[in-house]
């Protein structure tokens, strides 16, 4: 079977499938940064160019963003996002230099509503400059972004379902951390403490495996989610005494 760059869902133009959240009403501030997040007003600088403010998308693999698995790298690879016409589903096999983002700006009614991330215009951004998140991709969106970015970088087309298998456990971690923070913060924990607790809990060993690693097995995810929901209100990270 010939493999091409894939559209979101066959011949359907259901662009909502690409996104987890768009706009201030939908974005959750304490969700960990993830591949495909779009940020506005980010100061970036090209080689031999002046500092400019742009809308950008994180295009790095989630593991590359966090070299130690927890803390963000000081240099995050991003691609510029700007206006681009809607690419019909039967044309997604083209335009390998970009990730189409139709309906990205849901509050905009003009053609500016439709954007794309351009892989030829990349920058490195400091995480502290990524303050204004305006969109997060869904798992499907992340898989398609990685497929296109890998194709652009190496001229290899990897089926999106292989990315799904490889990335879904990391996406799962981001979901769990987001929900953990929501629950812990409602119980009075500060956002940074809640995030630290969530990471520590995921790295705790249970039945010979960290929960983080256990999430690689889809069969164990439901149990870990349930445990996280139960633990989040009161569980506290206790660093080992040195």
């Amino acid at each position: 079977m010939t493999r091409n760059l894939e559209p979101p869902s066959g011949d359907l133009d259901d662009w909502d499938l690409l996104y987890l959240a768009r706009g201030a009403d939908e974005i959750v501030g304490h969700r960990p940064f993830f591949t495909g997040d779009v940020f506005a007003e980010v100061p970036v600088q090209g080689p031999r160019a002046d500092l400019k403010t742009k809308t950008v998308m994180v295009i790095q693999h989630p593991c590359a963003m966090r070299p130690d698995g927890i803390n963000l790298s000081e240099s995050i690879l991003v691609a510029e996002v700007h206006k681009f016409p809607v690419l019909p589903p039967d044309k997604w096999y083209t335009s390998g230099k970009l990730m189409p983002l139709p309906d990205l700006l849901i509050d905009v009614t003009s053609n500016r509503r439709h954007q794309a991330a351009f892989f030829d215009d990349t920058f490195h951004a400091h995480p502290l400059d990524l303050k204004n998140r305006i969109a997060c991709l869904s798992p499907r969106g992340v898989n398609l972004l990685l497929q296109r970015w890998v194709y652009h970088s190496s001229r290899v087309i990897v089926p999106s379902f292989d990315f799904e298998t490889a990335v879904s456990s990391v996406y799962e971690q981001a979901d769990i951390i987001e929900e953990w923070c929501e629950i812990a913060m409602a119980a009075g924990r500060a956002p940074d403490e809640a995030t630290e607790d969530a990471h520590a809990w995921l790295r705790e060993v249970e039945s010979g495996l960290t929960r983080e690693r256990a999430l690689q097995d889809p069969q164990r995810r439901a149990v870990i989610r349930r445990q996280a929901r139960a633990a989040a209100p009161a569980w506290r990270h206790r660093p080992l005494a040195t």
Binding site: M1, D16, Y19, L20, A21, D25, E26, V28, C63, S138, P139, V158, P159, F161, D162, F163, E164, T165, A166, V167, S169, V170, E172, D175, E179, R213, Q216, P218, Q219, R220, R221, A222, V223, R225, R226, R229
Partner: protein
Amino acid sequence: MSNEDSLLVTTRGTASSEIAPPPKLPTATGSSPTPSELTERVGFLNNRAQDLHSDTDDLHLDVIMQEWQSRSTDLVRQDMSTLLAQLADLGFAWRDIARLIGVSVPAVQKWRRGKAATGQSRFNAAAVLAACALIADHYLVKEIASWFEVPVVFGCPITAIDLYAAKKPQLVFRLATGNADPEQVLSVFDPDWRETYRSDFEVFESEDGGLAIRAKER
């Protein structure tokens, strides 16, 4: 019965064939059937058994669908946040709950914060919960959310969540009963699934413990 359902059953029967007696075949000696006659008779009985099996299969699915409807109608009396909390207690991810109900994740988050849902959305949430309860009760599935999110067939990423989200609950119930071959169920859902999900790549655990992708060995 829909075309999709009929694809799950290779041999179909009719009501008249159900009640027709096996053919009385002439015997060569008057009492002992010849090998050829035996083949005919047993073959006929086998066909009848298969017809009966497929008909009871259909009947089974019909009553499951009725029970599902009835359970859904009972559950829809609960408010949306209660329904969502029960689905979360089963261990589902919010994004999967959203897919099963047929809405976006932000819509589910708004309902969790108390925003009103439409009657149809509440019914859809109740229907998901009812399907889980029905499958767990009748088919002794202990971790129902895990059952829903694990691939139907090893090596193919399609899950029961995908089947349900594509509005094919009958395929989910067929799977749950254990009476249908999972590969046949997938073939009904996507006749090309073997080809669609064949890959030259494989996912492996890399040295840092994370998952990575490499080309398969030829």
